[in-house]
């Protein structure tokens, strides 16, 4: 509505008003940007109503495999909003003596790094990467710096075919060719195929453990030894770290570089797409290459930022990473403590195996082994009736559940990848399992019914091809 506004601002004092604005016309906009003209109530109502169109962890069980959609404790939000954290300008520590102006924030960074280093069995951590994939890119840049320092160019990075798409994309962004190794019949990387492509031109091998089938890579230490024999480094994609907390450390398994997703394992909300944070840990020999700056504890117990890092890969983020996300993760780690950490993995793994055991009679299970924190079914049995993984997903939406991850990993046809996480109770999981069983039965009895699902949502199945053709990305 022209002329309506949602915010009032302070008035200028006469002295300020009297100042002539020395911006010539040629630098100015001819007209203001065409933004909404609405009241504050219009805005509140619009976004409140939009929020109600969403499934979320707060409103629905959200068993999206490899995404670890666990509950986000509210205390972490309250802490991140404290003025003493939210109001701090990031350039303050760069002023002379500025480190002393931000001791609280620096302690949070230092302690979080220390805890992640301990939990992952690494030598040092950097909190700068602002997402998991950003951590991967950082990790590969560290690996490139390591090889460069040893006079090697090296041109390839190996990934298993079950890897997340970010792994090959990150390797390519860092300037490497990507070689893909197939999985073997047990769901793990095929060791013989791996040996066939491993040589002195390989800079790194990128693995997820447990892998994207939820299976522990039993030969991981052998893979590490083989890679190290060629001075190739082993990279750990931490998307599935939830399963190992307190039980097993990537560093002990032979990984040289790891990234962790604070927004998964350490319960900071994903925000409908982010922000996340993807801190990177390295073994001691890679520590000199970590990004600028690095937080250090001085002998007097105070904290400082060190910018004198001659071997560093440089600035990965403008400052110290997504501090607000790191802060939530730190609060979460303090809440968990040593005992809570182990309980996370215990119950994440228990819940996933419970789902596996109960749904096995109803859906195909391509790898019937004990799983870690997630299990992957196939909808091939339902496909025979014309009901695909995507149809099952849409039926689950009508049942009031966010669907599992579908069509990933690529190594399983019609994949349904379920990750309940440790924060879901048996009752909630039972309700989900019963819904999955009803859907399986419906696929037998009335496969045609799926065509009209979902029906309970504000819109039904959307025409994705039309979106590509129409190319309407804004008004």
């Amino acid at each position: 509505m022209p002329g309506r506004r949602g915010c009032t601002l302070p008035k200028l004092t006469p002295a300020e008003e009297a100042c002539h604005l020395r911006i010539p016309e040629r630098y100015r906009a001819t007209q203001p940007p065409e933004l909404p003209e609405v009241s504050e109530l219009d805005v509140v109502r619009h976004f409140t109503n939009l929020s109600r169109l969403n499934f979320s962890v707060d409103s629905h069980l959200y068993p999206l495999g490899s995404c670890t959609m666990k509950y986000n404790p509210r205390i972490c939000e309250k802490i991140a909003a404290l003025d003493g954290f939210a109001g701090i300008h990031p350039l303050l520590p760069q002023l002379r003596g500025g480190g002393m102006l931000t001791q609280g924030a620096l302690e949070v960074l230092y302690e979080t790094e220390r805890l992640l280093t301990e939990i992952c069995g690494m030598g040092a951590f950097s909190l700068q990467p602002m997402a998991g994939a950003h951590g991967e890119l950082t990790g590969i840049m560290l690996i490139a710096a390591y090889h460069r320092a040893h006079g090697n160019r090296r041109s390839t990075v190996i990934v298993p075919d079950s890897s997340h798409g970010t792994n090959p994309a990150s390797a390519a962004m860092a300037g490497y060719e990507v070689v893909t190794v197939p999985s073997g019949p047990d769901g793990c990387m095929d060791l013989e195929a791996f040996k066939a492509v491993l040589n002195d031109d390989v800079a790194a091998v990128m693995m997820t453990c447990p892998n994207t089938l939820g299976l522990f890579e039993k030969q991981i230490h052998e893979i590490a030894d083989l890679a190290h024999a060629h001075d190739a480094l082993l990279y750990y994609d931490g998307a599935n770290l939830n399963a190992l907390l307190g039980h097993c450390r990537p560093g002990d398994l032979g990984f040289d570089v790891v990234h962790v997703n604070l927004h998964k394992t350490f319960a900071t909300p994903h925000g409908g797409g982010g922000p996340g944070a993807g801190p990177v840990g390295v073994v001691p020999r890679l520590a000199p290459y970590l990004p600028v700056s690095q937080v250090v504890k001085r002998s007097d117990g105070t904290f400082a930022l060190d910018y004198d890092c001659p071997k560093s890969i440089g600035y990965i983020a403008p400052f110290y990473g997504n501090f607000g996300v790191v802060l939530r993760a730190y609060a979460y780690l303090l809440l968990l403590g040593r005992n809570g950490l182990t309980e996370v993995a215990d119950h994440a793994v228990l819940n996933a195996n419970y789902v596996r055991a109960r749904l096995k009679p109803y859906y195909d299970l391509p790898y019937d082994r004990t799983v870690m924190h997630e299990c992957v079914f196939s909808a091939l049995r339902q496909c025979a009736k014309g009901v695909h993984a995507i149809d099952i997903a849409k039926a689950l939406i009508d049942e009031g559940f966010h669907p599992p991850t579908v069509y990933f990993p690529l190594t399983v046809k019609e994949a349904l990848m379920i990750e309940p996480t440790e924060t879901e109770s048996k009752e909630a999981i039972d309700r989900f399992i019963e819904a999955m069983i009803r859907v399986a039965r419906l696929a037998e009895a009335d496969p045609a019914a799926f065509a009209e699902m979902p029906q309970s949502t504000p819109v039904s199945r959307l025409d994705e091809t039309r979106a590509v053709k129409a190319m309407r990305f804004g008004v």
């Binding site: 020395r22 911006i23 001819t30 003209e37 976004f47 929020s51 109600r52 969403n54 499934f55 707060d58 959200y62 999206l64 802490i79 909003a81 954290f85 109001g87 300008h89 303050l92 002023l95 609280g104 924030a105 302690e107 939990i119 998991g132 994939a133 991967e136 997340h164 798409g165 970010t166 090959p168 994309a169 390519a172 990507v178 994903h270 925000g271 409908g272 797409g273 922000p275 944070a277 600035y315 400052f319 501090f323 607000g324 303090l334 809440l335 809570g340 950490l341 228990l350 596996r356 966010h402 440790e422 924060t423 048996k426 949502t457 819109v459 025409d463 979106a467 990305f473 804004g474 008004v475």
Partner: protein, 443 residues
């Protein structure tokens, strides 16, 4: 406190269903020698204890300084509606909208955010956000290389030194030449930029207002660049667009920027918001997510993630970038901010910043020995030359409760007496007066 919900009795039932004696049996695939014996961290704390500890830590940060620090990150007012709406769990505990029917709230918000960024920058298409202004600029440079098939990037030194550091780091492993051109009297050097553009140049990168606070109109540089087949990338301070000429009007091909000023707290460096917009002709070369409009089975309007064939989960190593998680919640914050401010509010806030900065410039340059440097026309930030080392002056003013600005000597050789001062709509006339008096007293 681990937030685990299952009771011991429920665990026993579940273990019986699985057919294992205890939970540890579920970890049998991990070889015994790799099992953790002890984790060196304290026992868990209660919620009250954690709050108390972190509340006390927050007070060890000097958060009550009056802030004249800028450098691309500003202490702007955030309307209460931004926090209130964006803290709704349905927004902040949702994942990336892979199932569109269950995520229309997030998807429509992204679509509206894309629209708002296009209107602000006067470009044709914006993506669903990148990590921050720096990584957005790096992605823009890589995008220009893909579009043109060329290998050189020309970078104006008026671009934030932090972003230029990032650009050098990210491109170190790639076959890209970076050509940095010094500013002349604080502004883009037309002659040297023009001479640097050649047949191998993919893009020229500029910033408005630049790091010294100077505003500019790059239309002439854009015309020169286009004549040589080069693209023009402009990094902008979005709030300034309430007043200044939009990069789309100057002929920019890719526009990026830091969205922190649009309703995001400073939060010691993040999470922030990288935005990117371009012309429709380049949409398939653009990195990051895009929400598109379509219809459902019954013809109702709805939104989906689209053009995903560019993205890493489909195209893997051939993707336009590796971005997966972005800054969706920050994008939502900026959308709510822009909606609450609206057409007139954004213009007013820009006007307030510019006027107050002009007032501060007048007050500070009246101090004997202090003069305004390297920035003829400015928006809300300007460079002063002091008679003493700017780091010294700033350190002394901190004791008086003022973060007086950013000493440029940290990033620019020979500029140790230069101070970059930022003024937002939050700074009162009294605070500006206090800064002027305090500065005069330490010189």
């Amino acid at each position: 406190m681990s937030f685990v919900a299952n009771t011991p009795a429920q665990c026993a039932e579940m273990l019986a269903t699985i057919g294992v004696p205890d939970i540890s049996a579920l970890f049998d695939d991990i070889p015994p020698r790799f099992r953790v014996k002890h984790v060196d961290m304290p026992e868990g704390l209660s919620e009250a204890e954690v709050y108390d500890r972190l509340h006390r830590l927050s007070h060890r940060n000097a958060h009550e300084l009056t802030c004249f620090l800028g450098g691309g990150f500003y202490d702007h007012f955030i309307p209460a509606a931004v926090d209130s709406l964006c803290s709704r769990g349905e927004f902040f505990t949702a994942y990336t909208p892979y199932q569109p029917e269950a995520s229309q709230g997030t998807l429509q918000a992204i679509f509206e955010y894309q629209s708002a960024i296009c209107r602000l920058t006067r470009m044709e298409v914006a993506n669903a956000s990148l990590y921050d202004g720096g990584t957005a600029l790096v992605e823009a440079a890589l995008m220009a290389l893909r579009i043109t098939g060329r290998t050189r990037i020309v970078l104006d030194s008026g671009v934030s030194p932090i972003y230029r550091h990032m650009m050098r780091g990210y491109t170190r492993n790639l076959s890209i030449d970076l050509d940095e051109i010094e500013v002349a009297h604080g502004q883009a050097d037309r002659a040297r930029l023009g001479a640097a553009l050649g047949e191998h140049t993919a893009a020229v990168i500029l910033q408005n207002p630049n790091f010294f606070g100077a505003v500019d109109d790059f239309s002439d540089i854009a015309a020169q660049a286009h004549a040589k087949g080069c693209l023009v990338i402009v990094s902008v301070y979005p709030l300034a667009l309430g007043l200044l000429k939009a990069p789309g009007e100057m002929g920019a091909d890719i526009v990026t920027g830091e969205g922190q000023s649009l309703g995001l707290p400073l939060s010691f460096g993040g999470p922030y918001l990288g935005f990117m917009a371009t012309r429709m002709a380049h949409v398939r070369k653009m990195p990051g997510r895009l929400a598109g409009e379509t219809v459902d089975r019954l013809g109702r309007t709805g939104y989906v993630l689209t053009l995903q064939a560019r993205e890493q989960h489909i195209r893997r190593e051939k993707a336009t970038s590796n971005v997966c998680s972005n800054e969706a919640l920050c994008a939502l914050r900026s959308l709510v901010y822009l909606s609450v401010m609206g057409k007139q509010g954004l213009r007013d806030v820009a006007w307030l910043c510019a006027k107050k900065a002009e007032y501060a410039k007048q007050r500070l340059s009246a101090i004997p020995g202090v003069s305004v440097k390297r920035s003829a026309a400015t928006f809300n930030e300007f460079t002063l030359e002091l008679p003493i080392d700017a780091s010294d002056a700033v350190a002394r003013l901190v004791d008086r409760g003022i973060a007086a600005g950013f000493p440029l000597g940290r990033y620019y050789e020979g500029m140790s007496n230069y101070l970059l001062v930022a003024v937002t709509e939050k700074r009162t006339r009294a605070e500006i007066g206090h800064l002027a008096e305090a500065l005069e007293s330490v010189l």
